[in-house]
Symmetry: C2
Subunit: 230 residues, 2 copies
């Protein structure tokens, strides 16, 4: 049996690390949403067997945690803004932009505590920007309130975005976008206020809507930060 008959030795398994795994998973999620992320597909994209991944993560949820933390690296502002208000505003907008780049983030935001290094760094930077303005409890309340707002707002925005994309390409047009159903419901006359909102409401683009609500919340925070409780 000559060399020519014998096949080449099998290629050594490609080296793996969490970074590569997470990158592959994020790529899959960016292309096809969270549901397109399966351990088999992630592994396949790395020329590895599915079970190999379990050396680096012990459950699929952990993979999600790593993905989220990776995105937190994009969210973390490179330079510290001086103003607390600017810090919170930038955090909100950067999170929103990250979620628009990686829509699946909206599904994961707030689903599990963000305890990865980048998540912690973001929290640290945020708290640092507010540190010393008042007692720590008020600061925490402020951060939590703003976070709750932009988490919820981002989630709704992405949800609407998907709905619009699914029901054709209608830019907004709530009633005809969601087809006959909403139209019919509104026609029953049982939802006058809603009908008015749908028909008479101006449709503002998502970004200004987000920014406006954010400003309101920041105003509310400002009041509490500047007038500490007795």
């Amino acid at each position: 049996m000559t060399v020519w008959d014998r096949p080449e030795p099998p290629t050594r398994p490609v080296p793996l690390d969490r970074e590569r795994i997470v990158a592959a998973a994020i790529a899959l999620a960016d292309e096809g949403g969270l549901e397109a992320v399966s351990l088999r597909k992630v592994a396949a994209r790395l020329n590895a067997g599915p079970m190999r991944l379990y050396g680096y993560i012990s459950t699929k949820e952990e993979l999600f945690d790593l993905m989220v933390d990776e995105v937190y690296a994009e969210i973390l502002p490179e330079e510290q803004p001086g103003d607390w208000r600017e810090a919170l505003r930038v955090l909100a907008h950067r999170t929103r932009q990250a979620a628009l780049r990686h829509e699946w983030l909206a599904d994961l935001l707030g689903r599990r505590p963000a305890l990865g290094p980048n998540g912690l760094a973001v929290t640290e930077a945020t708290l640092a920007a507010l540190d010393g303005l008042t007692d720590i409890d008020t600061v925490m309340r402020a951060v939590e309130t703003v976070s709750a707002y932009f988490t919820g707002a981002i989630r709704r925005e992405v949800t609407n975005l998907r709905a619009e994309r699914a029901t054709g390409l209608s830019k907004r047009d709530w009633q005809r976008a969601h087809g006959p159903h909403v139209t019919r419901m509104l026609a029953t006359g049982r939802f006058p206020a809603l009908a008015k909102a749908v028909y008479d409401g101006t449709d503002v683009d998502a970004e200004t809507s987000f920014a406006t609500g954010l400003d309101w919340v920041l105003d509310a925070v400002a009041v509490r930060l500047t007038t500490p409780p007795p």
Copy 2:
């Protein structure tokens, strides 16, 4: 062949409707979370084959939509409060209470537009409470901002609740609750502000935290509702 040898005629299939299906699904979700809801298990609980459900829903997501809308029936306040602020506050609190009764709601809130009859009714009632105070656009912005807040806040609360439950029974105690990891991270000194918050912060119970943040947001809304833009 006597009667005794012959089997009884097969029992007629139990009558089914969406209400029963949704009730079964909710029961399963209440017991074991969303992931415990499978079409097979829902059907089994109704003594039916899995495929039978597809006469009533055409996809599992639709079942989730029905479940959410069912809970919106619990959220809808029975009597209309006169004050707009009271209306929004009650909406937020009722949603939170529903989410504490049905924790899976936190996973579904804001995931898809709530266009079911009860969801629409809730929206209608909310808009009605604010109708006429200012232009419809400002009203929409107000509702959206408050909704974004309490959606995000509820999500975080339920997430923390689950984390606490999973890491033992520690009431809060962030650092030791999540075991050595957070402790070690804080010990590195790279997160001074966060460390201060963890060690020096008072832990307030979730409800007052929720209510406080809500009040802040409502204050911000009040400012815009009473002083309409020129």
